[in-house]
């Protein structure tokens, strides 16, 4: 069955809008945040209109309903990534908070001077800065796996670092948000485990596109954000292997995460609540559950094939434009292209694109070290999702030509 993006688009009210009376909206900033289908919007609306209450506490109709829905969403997420139990699914604010949680709690219990955490040059700041902060607190050393010219990780150096350094954890992105590179996380995890190191996978860019399987990947932690995969903002997931989560101290202190509290001290609640202090993002979690329902109903391989075909066309036509340099040339990559244009700054390009109704990201995309490594200050990034169409790619390419005409004399 052919994938019909034109029909799928009908599910996304925001995409029905025009940028102005004559200019359609071309949304190509999906790697930053995706749009939301009607079903997710309806779920949030219904929740606030008819189900809203705090969870886990009230013995009343609404609280029971909210609790059922919130915990039901957790089970949907568990199945979505194929975790063994729902207790391995911790709701967080997003990828960033999930990574900070691991750096702060697993780090506190396990890392000390002489230990090494391996990150990579292509990481989002979330997977670099969290570890820098923890390194200052706990005294371990942070090393980075370098890149090859095509924008893939230097696997030989990775293997050497694992062999020669006292690596305790590898903090690795599954998909680069700038180069598009998809890293071989299953193989890299196997190698890390062979050297006694754990692996945290940043799946912010892959969870929206692929069916992830934490048991097949065998990663120890995996983090992703709801808002990039059709869900609301303010909700994301930390998956962790149960025995690791059990052994970790809590992250934030407060309500819901305790078993008992006295003025002298406290004991911790079971998983996953130990890591969910305070009133959680209830509506958002339920909304993310609805987003997972939507993705499950989608023919994901067909959606991927559609996205990939659009990407190939976008990549080829963009690369043909004089002065344009597309970043990254990994053989396996996600549907996004960051680029620079000789003689034009990224922000100016994005501004002209916006006048043509094309939404892209301009800047360093939270990958400053990578941009430094590439010798550029900023880039423009176009990123696709399954609801994009060939018309979107056309409008984008025309707008880039227009930007060139305006900006490069």
């Amino acid at each position: 069955m052919a994938f019909d993006a034109a029909t799928i688009r009908q599910d996304f009210p925001i995409l029905q809008q025009m940028r102005s009376a004559t200019v359609p909206l071309t949304y190509l900033d999906n790697a930053a945040s995706s749009q939301k289908p009607q079903s997710v919007i309806d779920t949030l609306n219904t929740y606030y209109r008819t189900q809203n209450a705090n969870v886990h506490r009230g013995i009343h109709w609404l609280s029971e309903m909210a609790t059922e829905l919130y915990e039901g969403a957790r089970v949907k997420l568990q199945k979505f990534v194929n975790a063994k139990t729902r207790r391995e699914i911790i709701f967080t604010r997003g990828t960033t908070e999930a990574i900070n949680l691991v750096a702060q709690t697993w780090g506190r219990a396990n890392l000390k001077a002489g230990d090494v955490v391996l990150s990579t040059v292509m990481e989002h700041h979330a997977n670099i800065v969290s570890w820098q902060i923890a390194a200052e607190q706990y005294g371990f050393t942070l090393h980075y796996v370098p890149l090859l010219y095509d924008g893939t990780l230097d696997q030989a150096t990775y293997a050497r670092l694992l062999r020669e350094e006292n690596v305790k954890l590898v903090a690795l992105t599954h998909g680069s948000n700038t180069l598009g590179t998809i890293n071989p996380v299953a193989d890299m995890t196997q190698l890390a485990h062979a050297h006694g190191a754990l692996v945290l996978v940043d799946a912010a860019q892959t969870a929206p596109h692929f069916k992830l399987d934490v048991q097949a990947l065998d990663c120890d932690f995996l983090a992703f954000s709801g808002h990039k995969m059709l869900g609301p903002t303010g909700i994301g997931v930390l998956y962790g292997k149960r025995e690791l989560l059990e052994a970790m101290p809590p992250f934030l202190g407060g309500g819901d995460m305790i078993a008992t509290v006295t003025l002298e001290g406290s004991t911790w609640n079971q998983l996953p609540y130990k890591f969910e202090a305070g009133t959680p993002a209830i509506a958002q979690a339920i909304g993310l559950g609805a987003a997972v329902d939507y993705l499950n109903a989608l023919d994901l391989p067909a959606a991927n094939a559609h996205e990939h075909a659009l990407f190939v066309e976008l990549y080829e036509r963009l690369s043909e434009i004089a002065g344009v340099r597309v970043l990254g040339a990994a053989p396996e990559r996600g549907a996004l292209a960051a680029f620079t244009m000789e003689g034009a700054h990224a922000h100016d390009i994005a501004q002209v694109l916006d006048q043509h109704g094309v939404a892209v990201r301009a800047g360093h995309h939270c990958t400053m070290p990578l941009h430094q490594h590439l010798g550029i200050a900023a880039s423009v990034r176009a990123s696709l999702y399954f609801y994009n169409t060939a018309a979107d790619v056309d409008r984008f390419i025309q707008a880039v030509y227009a930007a060139r005409k305006t900006l490069v004399s």
Binding site: H56, W61, E64, R86, E246, T260
Partner: protein, 132 residues
């Protein structure tokens, strides 16, 4: 929710709790809390040389459901072998309570079983039972 929620049997147990009061000395001694509401249960048991539970004594504080379930479970445990006790599941106490419970109330009803199984087996075993 209708008035029949508090079935006569539950109220009877809640008003006239069986085996309340801790045993000392004893062969089994474990305490658990329900973090959602602060209900507390302390369970003690005397076990004979054949591994049969002979006496049960418990203490605790909480709602009618949690207290009644401790009272009911205590009665059932007397005469049971440890081997049987280890195999108890959530449905066993839910059947004792005998009324449909919503998600937050299930925690109340199973606090006594949780205390038994965490003490007898492990907290991981209990979490698996809870997730069934």
């Amino acid at each position: 929710m209708d008035e029949t929620f508090y079935r006569e049997n539950i109220l009877d147990h809640a008003r006239h709790m069986r085996n309340k009061g801790l045993l000392s000395p004893c062969d089994f001694d474990h305490e658990e809390h329900n973090p959602l509401c602060g209900d507390h249960l302390h369970l003690t048991m005397r076990i004979d040389d054949n591994g049969i539970i002979r006496e049960v004594g418990w203490d605790g504080s909480g709602c009618a459901i949690s207290q009644a379930s401790a009272s009911m479970l205590g009665e059932e445990l007397i005469g049971m072998s440890l081997e049987q006790a280890r195999k108890l599941d959530k449905q066993f106490v839910l059947d004792l309570i005998g009324i449909p419970l919503t998600i937050n109330r299930v925690k109340c009803a199973t606090l006594s079983l949780k205390t038994l199984l965490v003490g007898l087996v492990s907290s991981e075993h209990w979490e698996n039972i809870e997730d069934e």
